[in-house]
Amino acid sequence: MATLHTVHRSPYRETTLASCLRMARPGSAILLLEDGVYAAVAAGAHAPRLREAMARLRVFALEADLAARGIAPDELIDGIATVDYEGFVDLACEHAKVQAWL
Protein backbone atom coordinates (compact mmCIF):
# COMPACT_ATOMS: atom_id res chain seq x y z
CA MET A 1 0.00 0.00 0.00
CA ALA A 2 1.23 3.49 -0.74
CA THR A 3 1.84 6.43 1.65
CA LEU A 4 -0.55 9.28 2.50
CA HIS A 5 1.47 12.53 2.57
CA THR A 6 -0.03 15.48 4.48
CA VAL A 7 1.09 19.01 3.55
CA HIS A 8 0.45 21.62 6.26
CA ARG A 9 2.06 24.82 4.86
CA SER A 10 1.25 27.42 2.22
CA PRO A 11 3.22 26.88 -1.03
CA TYR A 12 3.54 30.68 -1.36
CA ARG A 13 5.35 31.00 1.97
CA GLU A 14 7.30 27.73 2.37
CA THR A 15 8.93 25.05 0.17
CA THR A 16 7.09 22.25 2.01
CA LEU A 17 4.86 21.21 -0.91
CA ALA A 18 7.84 21.20 -3.28
CA SER A 19 9.75 18.86 -0.97
CA CYS A 20 6.71 16.58 -0.64
CA LEU A 21 6.23 16.38 -4.41
CA ARG A 22 9.90 15.37 -4.78
CA MET A 23 9.49 12.50 -2.34
CA ALA A 24 5.93 11.30 -3.09
CA ARG A 25 6.18 8.15 -5.19
CA PRO A 26 3.73 7.31 -7.98
CA GLY A 27 0.51 5.85 -6.59
CA SER A 28 0.73 7.64 -3.26
CA ALA A 29 -1.76 10.31 -2.13
CA ILE A 30 -1.40 13.88 -0.86
CA LEU A 31 -3.79 15.56 1.57
CA LEU A 32 -3.59 19.37 1.67
CA LEU A 33 -4.68 20.75 5.05
CA GLU A 34 -4.31 23.92 7.12
CA ASP A 35 -2.49 26.54 4.97
CA GLY A 36 -1.56 23.71 2.56
CA VAL A 37 -5.04 24.04 0.95
CA TYR A 38 -3.92 27.25 -0.80
CA ALA A 39 -2.08 25.00 -3.28
CA ALA A 40 -5.43 23.54 -4.40
CA VAL A 41 -6.69 26.78 -5.98
CA ALA A 42 -6.80 26.41 -9.78
CA ALA A 43 -6.08 30.09 -10.46
CA GLY A 44 -3.04 30.12 -8.14
CA ALA A 45 0.59 30.30 -9.30
CA HIS A 46 1.32 26.86 -7.81
CA ALA A 47 -1.50 25.08 -9.61
CA PRO A 48 0.51 23.97 -12.67
CA ARG A 49 3.04 22.03 -10.63
CA LEU A 50 0.33 20.29 -8.61
CA ARG A 51 -1.66 19.47 -11.79
CA GLU A 52 1.42 17.89 -13.28
CA ALA A 53 1.95 15.76 -10.12
CA MET A 54 -1.70 14.67 -10.26
CA ALA A 55 -0.79 12.50 -13.25
CA ARG A 56 0.87 10.09 -10.79
CA LEU A 57 -0.64 11.07 -7.41
CA ARG A 58 -4.12 11.48 -5.99
CA VAL A 59 -4.64 14.87 -4.28
CA PHE A 60 -7.20 15.69 -1.58
CA ALA A 61 -8.02 18.90 0.33
CA LEU A 62 -9.56 19.18 3.80
CA GLU A 63 -13.00 20.81 3.71
CA ALA A 64 -12.81 22.62 7.06
CA ASP A 65 -9.60 24.39 5.98
CA LEU A 66 -11.03 25.32 2.56
CA ALA A 67 -14.16 26.78 4.21
CA ALA A 68 -12.18 28.70 6.83
CA ARG A 69 -10.17 30.34 4.06
CA GLY A 70 -13.15 31.16 1.87
CA ILE A 71 -12.13 28.77 -0.93
CA ALA A 72 -15.19 27.44 -2.76
CA PRO A 73 -15.21 23.92 -4.29
CA ASP A 74 -15.49 25.33 -7.83
CA GLU A 75 -12.20 27.20 -7.35
CA LEU A 76 -10.23 23.97 -6.98
CA ILE A 77 -8.01 22.31 -9.58
CA ASP A 78 -10.09 19.71 -11.44
CA GLY A 79 -9.55 16.26 -9.97
CA ILE A 80 -8.82 17.38 -6.41
CA ALA A 81 -11.31 15.64 -4.12
CA THR A 82 -12.36 17.24 -0.85
CA VAL A 83 -12.68 15.26 2.40
CA ASP A 84 -13.82 16.02 5.93
CA TYR A 85 -11.87 14.86 9.01
CA GLU A 86 -13.51 11.42 8.90
CA GLY A 87 -12.50 11.18 5.25
CA PHE A 88 -8.97 12.03 6.39
CA VAL A 89 -9.16 9.10 8.85
CA ASP A 90 -10.33 6.73 6.10
CA LEU A 91 -7.47 7.87 3.85
CA ALA A 92 -5.04 7.16 6.69
CA CYS A 93 -6.46 3.64 7.04
CA GLU A 94 -6.37 2.97 3.29
CA HIS A 95 -2.67 3.82 3.08
CA ALA A 96 0.29 2.02 4.66
CA LYS A 97 1.19 5.08 6.74
CA VAL A 98 0.86 8.85 7.04
CA GLN A 99 3.89 11.08 6.42
CA ALA A 100 3.60 14.76 7.54
CA TRP A 101 5.29 17.64 5.71
CA LEU A 102 5.40 20.46 8.31
Binding site: D35, Y38, A47, A64, D65, A68, G70
Partner: protein, 120 residues
Protein backbone atom coordinates in the same frame (compact mmCIF):
# COMPACT_ATOMS: atom_id res chain seq x y z
CA UNK B 1 5.05 67.24 15.33
CA UNK B 2 2.35 65.62 13.16
CA UNK B 3 1.12 62.21 14.30
CA UNK B 4 3.43 59.30 13.70
CA UNK B 5 2.78 57.05 10.71
CA UNK B 6 2.73 53.38 11.68
CA UNK B 7 2.62 50.62 9.05
CA UNK B 8 1.26 47.21 10.12
CA UNK B 9 2.92 44.71 7.79
CA UNK B 10 0.74 41.59 7.55
CA UNK B 11 2.38 38.71 5.63
CA UNK B 12 0.68 35.59 7.02
CA UNK B 13 -2.59 33.82 6.16
CA UNK B 14 -5.56 34.11 8.53
CA UNK B 15 -5.87 30.71 10.25
CA UNK B 16 -2.64 28.71 10.04
CA UNK B 17 -1.28 30.84 12.90
CA UNK B 18 -2.71 33.43 15.30
CA UNK B 19 -0.54 36.25 13.98
CA UNK B 20 -3.21 37.73 11.72
CA UNK B 21 -5.77 37.81 14.47
CA UNK B 22 -3.59 39.16 17.27
CA UNK B 23 -2.09 41.73 14.86
CA UNK B 24 -5.60 43.00 14.15
CA UNK B 25 -6.12 43.48 17.89
CA UNK B 26 -3.09 45.80 17.96
CA UNK B 27 -4.57 47.79 15.08
CA UNK B 28 -7.90 48.19 16.87
CA UNK B 29 -6.18 49.38 20.08
CA UNK B 30 -3.79 51.56 18.07
CA UNK B 31 -6.72 53.33 16.47
CA UNK B 32 -7.44 55.02 19.81
CA UNK B 33 -4.02 56.62 19.66
CA UNK B 34 -3.11 59.62 17.59
CA UNK B 35 -1.37 57.68 14.82
CA UNK B 36 -1.61 57.65 11.05
CA UNK B 37 -2.25 53.91 10.60
CA UNK B 38 -1.35 52.13 7.35
CA UNK B 39 -2.53 48.55 7.05
CA UNK B 40 -0.33 46.68 4.59
CA UNK B 41 -1.25 43.20 3.32
CA UNK B 42 1.46 41.40 1.37
CA UNK B 43 2.37 37.77 0.53
CA UNK B 44 -0.07 35.41 2.30
CA UNK B 45 -1.31 38.41 4.31
CA UNK B 46 -3.67 39.22 1.39
CA UNK B 47 -5.64 36.06 2.29
CA UNK B 48 -6.77 37.69 5.53
CA UNK B 49 -9.13 39.95 3.57
CA UNK B 50 -10.74 37.25 1.41
CA UNK B 51 -14.55 37.18 1.52
CA UNK B 52 -16.55 34.11 2.51
CA UNK B 53 -14.34 32.76 5.29
CA UNK B 54 -16.40 30.27 7.34
CA UNK B 55 -14.50 28.90 10.33
CA UNK B 56 -17.43 26.93 11.81
CA UNK B 57 -16.30 23.50 10.54
CA UNK B 58 -12.87 24.25 12.01
CA UNK B 59 -14.32 25.24 15.39
CA UNK B 60 -12.37 28.48 15.47
CA UNK B 61 -13.75 32.00 15.97
CA UNK B 62 -14.15 33.91 12.70
CA UNK B 63 -12.39 37.26 13.05
CA UNK B 64 -12.62 38.38 9.40
CA UNK B 65 -15.80 40.27 10.32
CA UNK B 66 -13.62 42.54 12.48
CA UNK B 67 -12.05 43.89 9.30
CA UNK B 68 -15.40 45.43 8.41
CA UNK B 69 -15.29 47.32 11.71
CA UNK B 70 -11.95 48.71 10.60
CA UNK B 71 -13.52 51.41 8.49
CA UNK B 72 -14.95 52.87 11.71
CA UNK B 73 -11.38 53.34 12.97
CA UNK B 74 -10.49 55.18 9.74
CA UNK B 75 -7.03 53.80 9.10
CA UNK B 76 -5.22 56.30 6.89
CA UNK B 77 -4.66 53.67 4.19
CA UNK B 78 -5.51 50.00 3.65
CA UNK B 79 -3.20 48.67 0.95
CA UNK B 80 -2.78 45.28 -0.70
CA UNK B 81 0.12 44.16 -2.89
CA UNK B 82 -1.37 43.66 -6.36
CA UNK B 83 1.30 41.21 -7.35
CA UNK B 84 0.64 38.96 -4.34
CA UNK B 85 -3.13 39.05 -4.95
CA UNK B 86 -2.77 38.10 -8.61
CA UNK B 87 -0.20 35.33 -7.90
CA UNK B 88 -2.88 33.73 -5.73
CA UNK B 89 -5.58 33.99 -8.37
CA UNK B 90 -7.41 36.74 -6.48
CA UNK B 91 -8.77 40.17 -7.43
CA UNK B 92 -9.99 43.24 -5.50
CA UNK B 93 -13.63 42.14 -5.66
CA UNK B 94 -12.74 38.93 -3.75
CA UNK B 95 -11.97 41.07 -0.72
CA UNK B 96 -14.07 42.02 2.31
CA UNK B 97 -13.19 45.71 2.28
CA UNK B 98 -12.28 48.48 -0.16
CA UNK B 99 -8.53 48.56 -0.54
CA UNK B 100 -5.82 50.32 -2.52
CA UNK B 101 -4.00 47.91 -4.87
CA UNK B 102 -0.36 48.94 -5.03
CA UNK B 103 2.48 47.74 -7.22
CA UNK B 104 5.73 46.80 -5.56
CA UNK B 105 7.38 50.20 -6.01
CA UNK B 106 4.46 52.11 -4.55
CA UNK B 107 4.27 49.64 -1.65
CA UNK B 108 8.02 49.94 -1.02
CA UNK B 109 7.64 53.72 -0.96
CA UNK B 110 4.75 53.57 1.52
CA UNK B 111 6.70 51.29 3.88
CA UNK B 112 9.85 53.35 3.52
CA UNK B 113 7.89 56.52 4.23
CA UNK B 114 6.34 55.18 7.44
CA UNK B 115 7.93 56.22 10.74
CA UNK B 116 7.53 52.74 12.24
CA UNK B 117 6.82 49.31 10.72
CA UNK B 118 5.28 46.60 12.92
CA UNK B 119 5.80 43.14 11.36
CA UNK B 120 3.51 40.20 12.09
Amino acid sequence: MSARSVAFLNRRGPHGTIHAREALEVVLVGAAFDQRVRLVFMDDGVYQLVRGQDTTPLGVKDFARAFRALAMYEPERVVVARRCLEARGLAADDLLVEVELLDDDALAELLDGSDVVLSF
